[in-house]
């Protein structure tokens, strides 16, 4: 099939192209099962080598190629042409400064990530037998969903509250905090809840739900933010997430 790409472009080094503009590219012999990322590569390799975008693993795990595709935040490597049709519009994700074509400045995003203590804290003595800390399969299950986050920024840059105020930590940072707050082995939940109770923490979330469908890892982000809000209200993460039945194997 033939596909027309309409791409939002910007090149800070070329006068006349240093303001955002649209450019169209036509591709033929496109298979419906081709990924958008492959088509961007074809444009770059066959038509215009100046087209700039980030990418690495090309199968939805590394989180490099978040873009706004036909108006929705997606990973370019995880959306197929057949799900978009013959006209495909690609722009950089919103809410972060555009540096060149589809490349945005990720620093503000990672700065928010670092704000929430995104690391495991447990200063109690290690088990005397030199082995792992124990955790029940049920306790492990409580935070399973938020361990899937790949920091692609699809959620944060789909969030109107983040667009309105870039100092809001944003959904991704809250997802990262959630992963530790609800980990039975971690001891810094109270500190993280304090951080997220600040004005630029969870309360800027207005439960708009844009983040959840934007997530390429299908994390229930709005739900996770709600669980963090509840933990702040109750002063503890205890008992907030209902344990699903975990099957044990022999």
């Amino acid at each position: 099939m033939d596909v027309t790409f309409r791409i939002r472009r910007l090149n800070p080094e070329i006068p006349g192209k240093d303001k955002p503009y649209w450019q169209e590219f036509k591709l033929s012999d496109v298979e419906p099962t081709d990924r958008v990322l492959e088509m961007l590569h074809r444009i770059k390799w066959e038509q215009d080598g100046t087209l700039a975008f980030r990418r690495s693993c090309a199968h939805g795990v590394c989180g490099s190629d978040a873009m706004r595709i036909n108006g929705v935040n997606r990973l370019a490597c995880k959306v197929l042409v057949k799900d978009l049709g013959a006209k495909i519009q690609v722009e950089p994700i919103l809410g972060l400064p555009v540096l060149k074509d589809l490349i945005v400045d990720m620093e503000p995003f990672f700065a928010h990530y670092r704000q929430v203590m995104p690391f495991f804290v447990n200063d109690t003595p290690l088990p005397a037998d030199g082995r792992e800390r124990l955790q029940s399969a049920e306790d492990r299950e409580l935070f399973d969903d938020t361990t899937k986050c790949i920091l692609c920024a699809c959620c944060t840059t789909a969030c109107p509250s983040f667009w309105a105020n870039g100092s809001y930590v944003g959904p991704a940072a809250i997802v990262q905090a959630h992963r530790f707050i609800f980990d039975s082995r971690d001891q810094a939940a109270a500190d993280r809840l304090d951080i997220l109770a600040e004005p630029n923490g969870v309360w800027r979330c207005r439960t708009i739900f844009n983040c959840t469908p934007a997530c390429p890892r299908e994390i229930e982000i709005t739900k996770a933010i709600g669980e963090v809000k509840l933990a702040i209200m109750r002063g503890s993460p205890e008992g907030i997430i209902q344990v699903r039945e975990v099957k044990h194997e022999g």
């Binding site: 090149n11 800070p12 080094e13 070329i14 099962t33 990924r35 590569h41 770059k44 390799w45 066959e46 215009d48 080598g49 100046t50 700039a52 975008f53 980030r54 990418r55 690495s56 693993c57 090309a58 199968h59 939805g60 795990v61 590394c62 989180g63 490099s64 995880k78 197929l80 540096l99 060149k100 490349i103 990672f110 670092r114 995104p118 690391f119 495991f120 804290v121 447990n122 290690l126 030199g130 082995r131 792992e132 800390r133 124990l134 029940s136 399969a137 492990r140 935070f143 399973d144 361990t147 899937k148 790949i150 920091l151 992963r179 082995r185 299908e218 099957k247 044990h248 194997e249 022999g250």
Partner: protein
């Protein structure tokens, strides 16, 4: 040009680099991590099935058995001292990852859950053993995240999106690297006492690969250009189960959970090739079996792929046949292999719980690389002479614990074990070593090379050259090899190199995020590594592990229990003209375990 000074410079921010950074900084070194990607984009994050360690959480296990499986899996080319270190240190390393917060799946007792994996057995090959510690099918993702988190906690300094393009040597030592800051195009010099390369593999040499676009072997190529040898480059692993045509990896964990390979006749063909452990034979064996099935016309619809079947009814049928009591349900498959199911549903429109997955072997892992000892120190000859200040760990390094074929899960073990040992060694080294000055004009040569590429006015698009290289390497230096085809690959690579030097066509002449330029420079690395790989493959006139010569089908322990060391014959790293390569075949395999334990002596490898 800006110059930065640190005790230690870590190039690459995957598992090995982050582990080394963490341990070097914990040991008191002032460390910079320089990476062309944001750390969380590194390829460690795509590892799926598990990390091997003889924890024995389900059934008896022993690090010596792990070492045995590693040596046997490596077709006896692994250095046995390194395999021993790998297996012994694996236990501590995995426990330590858990202490860092890694969310492993759990047993009913709350211990780290383990699954079966190809080539891992109990009691010296007796039967499959549950050794792969896992976090669903995203174990690598969890390792990468956990290590990055710990680096943030320990305030390690990161230079993200700084692409290292040259290594600096002076007074016989490594004194740092040159990097392009991708956002500005400026060159930065990183000057230090110790430099560790953890830049990953070079799967992009081949057409069908599980590897990320960024896996272009930069670290291996730039050290080679500065005279450091590359070891065992002929050994590149093809993983048996890549998604048909796309190469995306389907973890061996699928077979660990009971999935089986099926040909067009519905036959579980691995019973013919590995009667004892069947679908869980090591990867080279299974990849060859798939090629042979396809060659015999047993591919699905006569094409070049077979099925991987993990439907509960199939798994349960074979479990029952094997007399096992365990049974699986669709729900359990969903829970244990969520990412795999997602890949198949998104990219193939296939639901693996209801339909089998079309798969073919995919270029996956470099066993060879920058030679090191077990402390990640780079060694430059057959006498284990250390190059002061230079270290390497992870896939870009060759310890060699994997020998001629790496076992599943052992790449993650390699990262954490040798990344950690390297970091510790660096912390020790920088305390006593002097800072050697930079060479004169440290950026002159690389600057000239970039100027040449940026100003190219020829007709050859880099994408076209890359495509030709990938095809010829796939056809000539893939799962099966034969002298004339390897020679054809070498000839083609030389032609491509000539066009790369004299006829490039580049669109982007800018500086900021010039991905056109950087991809083209990466292609230069791939061409060098492809040529070294093919040259080493042509020289090795035997079949061993992942290197399978149809014209020399037997393993030859009399002549070939040696590692290959490839040296460049160049006076400057960007010398024009043909790349001449010298091969040294005098580095003997370490057989130290076999000296006291006959079970480790080379023998025919049957599964």
């Amino acid at each position: 040009m800006q110059t930065h000074q640190f005790d230690a410079i870590i190039v690459g921010a995957g598992g090995a680099g982050l582990m080394a950074a963490l341990y070097a900084s914990k040991g008191g070194a002032n460390v910079a991590v320089v990476s062309k990607l944001y750390p969380t984009r590194s390829h460690t994050g795509t590892a799926q099935g598990g990390i091997g360690a003889a924890l024995g959480n389900h059934e008896p296990d022993n690090p010596l058995w792990h070492a045995y499986d590693t040596v046997k899996g490596g077709d006896y080319l692994a250095d046995q001292n390194a395999a021993k270190v790998l297996a012994e240190n694996a236990i501590d390393a995995v426990i330590e990852l858990e202490h860092m917060g890694l969310p492993f799946d759990r047993t009913p007792e709350g211990r780290i859950s383990q699954r079966r994996f190809g080539g891992h057995t109990s009691n010296f090959g007796e039967k499959p053993v549950r050794r792969a510690c896992h976090a669903a099918d995203r174990t690598g993702h969890m390792i990468l995240q956990t290590l990055y988190q710990q680096c943030i906690k320990n305030e390690v300094q990161f230079f993200d999106e700084y692409h290292v393009v040259d290594v600096l040597m002076n007074q016989g030592a490594c004194v740092g690297v040159v990097a392009v800051q991708l956002g500005t195009g400026e060159l930065h010099v990183f000057h230090g006492k110790a430099t560790l390369f953890a830049t990953g593999g070079w799967g992009k040499v081949w057409r069908v690969t599980s590897n990320a676009h960024s896996l272009t072997g930069d670290g291996a190529a730039i050290t080679f250009r500065r005279g450091v040898p590359l070891e065992d480059m002929e050994f590149f692993q093809f993983h048996p189960t890549g998604i048909y045509k796309m190469g995306i990896l389907i973890t061996e964990g699928v077979r660990g959970e009971g999935g089986v390979l099926i040909n067009r006749h519905g036959e579980r063909f691995m019973e013919k090739y590995a009667p004892r452990i069947k679908d869980l034979a090591s990867r080279d064996v299974v990849s060859r079996a798939i090629y042979l099935e396809v060659r015999d016309g047993n591919g699905i619809q006569g094409k070049d792929y077979v099925y991987l079947d993990v439907r509960p009814e199939t798994v349960n049928r074979y479990l029952a046949e094997a007399g096992e009591t365990r049974r699986v349900t669709g729900e359990e498959i969903e829970k244990k292999l969520p990412d795999i199911l997602d890949f198949c549903r998104v990219y193939l429109g296939v639901d693996p719980v209801k339909e089998p997955m079309p798969i073919q072997p995919t270029a996956h892992y470099a066993m060879g690389g920058i030679p090191t000892n077990v402390d990640a120190e780079v060694v430059i000859d057959e006498n284990w002479t250390v190059l002061p200040g230079m270290y390497a760990a992870g896939e870009c390094a060759c310890v060699s614990c994997h020998g001629a074929n790496r076992l599943g899960t052992n790449s993650l073990v390699d990262l954490v074990v040798f990344g950690r040992r390297g970091g510790m060694k660096i912390a020790e080294y920088v305390k006593q070593a002097d800072l050697i000055p930079l060479p004169a004009n440290p950026t002159a040569e690389i600057e000239a090379e970039f100027k040449r590429i940026r100003g190219s006015k020829g007709k050859s698009k880099p994408g076209e050259l890359r495509g030709i290289m990938q095809k010829v390497m796939m056809d000539g230096v893939g799962v099966f090899r034969e002298g004339p085809n390897i020679q054809k690959a070498i000839d083609t690579i030389c032609e491509l190199r000539e066009r790369y030097q004299n006829d490039l066509s580049l669109d982007d002449q800018g500086y900021k995020f010039n991905t056109d330029l950087m991809e083209t420079w990466e292609l230069g690395c791939l061409l060098d590594l492809a040529q070294v790989t093919a040259k080493s493959a042509l020289a090795r006139t035997e079949s061993r592990g992942a290197h399978s010569r149809e014209d020399f089908p037997q393993r030859d322990d009399v002549n070939w229990l040696v590692h290959s060391l490839a040296f460049p014959k160049m006076t400057s790293p960007y010398q024009q003209g043909t790349l001449e390569i010298d091969l040294n075949l005098n580095k003997k395999v370490d057989l130290s375990l076999a000296e006291t334990d006959p079970r480790f002596a080379p023998k025919e490898r049957v599964y």
